[in-house]
Amino acid sequence: MKRSLPLIFAFIVGFIVLLSEFIPHRPFNQIVSTLEGWFMIISGFAILLGQISLIRMNTHKIVNKLPNWPYHLAGLISFAVMLTFGLLWGMRETPGILGDGAQISAWLGLKPFDYLFENAYLPLSATLFSLLAFFIASAAYRAFIIRGLESNLLMITAIIVIIGRTSMGTMLTGWLPESWQFWHIPNLADFIMEFPNTAAQRAILISAGLGIVGSSLRIILGIERSYLGGDK
């Protein structure tokens, strides 16, 4: 029963959602949005599960003084501080238990939650995102090392696209006559991005789409059961 009920639900719901894709009439046209609403409600309750997991895991490491426990302490303190500030004085338009905290807001310039959000969270988030530039550089260096024909082609293509996207590309081949415009580096870069690149990406998307159809069908028909934890 524990296994067959989810399978029956998956079959019924999957089939109805599939039908609703092709039937614009009520009630089929409302099913997807209704199910999305249900998903949001269940997700809302599940958030509590995540918070419990977070507190339990960190507390366990701090209490047992496991390696690197101060990091977990920092994580828990950050969580507690944001939660407390949010509950007490709210955020932006939403008041908290103690109202809007006019005095503390006047002192900080913002509500405490928003102050920490804008001055701690956002810079940290932006810092991590900006690391991407350095990671791209190191990954590109490895990708473009000439090892064989493929990596050679990759490097040549990448150089054309990189130069074509800068003013240097315009400067280098700007003197080419009208009949040779295709070989103008920015035009060449556009061609690479528009045709070979798009074609390859679409091939991946089409195969992924087929994979989704097959995977969904296996789940709807109950052939694929691994997501429930077991095959039988």
Binding site: P24, A46, R56, L128, Q201, I212, G214, I223, E224, G230
Partner: protein
């Protein structure tokens, strides 16, 4: 003489009526939320303003244009309601007002999606056919997927080094099919790691994924006959925030130094940050996603990459279940259909025939 005047008079009236036409009609084959407005006006008209009256009869401008002959689709309406429209046309020093009304109707089929339905039915029938054939004992050749074959190698290395395996089920919630596909791979991986008594760490971005991942890993340990080895704390929630989640995983990779990293599911901007950090730790890395834009990053930084469809085929491939393997044959049939359609479409377009393109494009638009 009188007859001649009458003929001229009626001709003028008919010409004027024919020249200035304004019609409203329910959009065909839709969900009853739009009305198509068509008008044909004298070439002297310079500006057109269309208004819709509300329940109290107040007019609200919904469209204005310069063209004398055109169409407009009024969207986001209520089904089965009658709507009244007024068209005001302006020419030099003169104006004209026309009225029309129509009732929105819900249809029972999106005709524009007929092409999509036919393709879907073809692929589904093929998949079911191959599943049934496999059920009756027919064996199909399935090509090797190196990324999945490497799973054993990765678990072996982790076991030898006495280090854990890190498994990231993507950054999307459970409503993304890539996350479901990822959980099916997790099930097989967890079972194998349970057999080798190697720890598997699964950080989750969403509570729903956490709940499902715990269930999947618990069942896998049970299946492997080692329920006592299951550690719930190894599958944990980090944060909903995208870069906070990445920072957490990077921290785990640097501190715990997992011997093998698996990134399976939906990934966005964080893919390279994750995979490059994993590369720096020297772990054997396998990634899989259907996000075409993130694949180059994974290809560069990971030892093995499951590209697009391979992510969805993984569970069937790993299970070695003939029925599931049969379904993979159905995917191949779909690919053949698409290749034929692309070739035929290109030939037809070269010949200036756009019917096939329009028929299939109807499903997309």
């Amino acid at each position: 003489m009188r007859k001649c005047i009458l003929i001229i008079f009626f001709t003028v009236i008919i010409t004027v009526l024919m020249a200035n036409r304004f019609e409203a009609s329910d959009t065909a084959w839709d969900d009853g939320k739009s009305i198509d407005l068509n008008w044909e006006l004298s070439p002297l008209i310079e500006k057109v303003v269309i208004s819709r009256s509300d329940a109290e009869g107040n007019l609200k401008v919904i469209h204005s244009s310069e063209a004398s002959t055109s169409t407009y689709r009024d969207n986001e309406l209520e089904p089965n309601q009658k709507y009244h429209y007024q068209l005001q046309a302006f020419s030099k020093g003169d104006s004209l007002s026309l009225a029309a009304s129509a009732t929105t109707k819900q249809q029972w089929f999106y005709m524009g999606k007929l092409g999509f339905l036919i393709l879907l039915v073809m692929v589904c029938v093929a998949i079911i056919y191959y599943i049934q054939s496999a059920k009756h004992g027919k064996e199909y050749f399935i090509r090797r997927i190196a990324g999945l074959d490497s799973m054993e190698e990765a678990i072996g290395r982790a076991t030898e080094k006495g280090k854990p395996i890190l498994y990231v089920p993507g950054i999307s919630d459970l409503d993304d099919i890539q996350t479901i596909a990822s959980l099916t791979i997790l099930s097989h991986l967890a079972e194998r790691s349970a057999e080798y008594s190697t720890d598997i760490i699964v950080p989750c971005r969403f509570s729903m994924v956490l709940s499902a991942a715990r269930e999947v890993v618990r069942e896998a340990y049970l299946k492997a006959g080692k329920p006592d080895a299951y550690r719930e704390d190894n599958i944990f929630y980090l944060t909903d925030d995208q870069f906070g989640f990445v920072a957490g995983i990077d921290g785990i990779m640097m501190r715990e130094q997992p011997a093998a990293n698996f990134f399976m599911g939906s990934f966005y901007a964080e893919s390279l940050i994750l995979a490059e950090t994993g590369f720096a730790t020297g772990a054997i890395q396998t990634a899989g996603t259907a996000q075409a834009h993130q694949l180059p990053f994974f290809v560069v930084t990971c030892d093995y990459t499951l590209i697009g469809e391979e992510l969805f085929a993984a569970s069937a491939y790993l299970s070695k279940d003939p029925q599931q393997l049969g379904s993979l044959r159905g995917h191949d049939f779909g690919k053949v259909v698409f290749i034929i359609l692309i070739i035929v479409g290109v030939i037809l377009e070269i010949l200036g025939i756009s019917n096939l393109k329009e028929f299939i494009a109807g499903a997309i638009t």
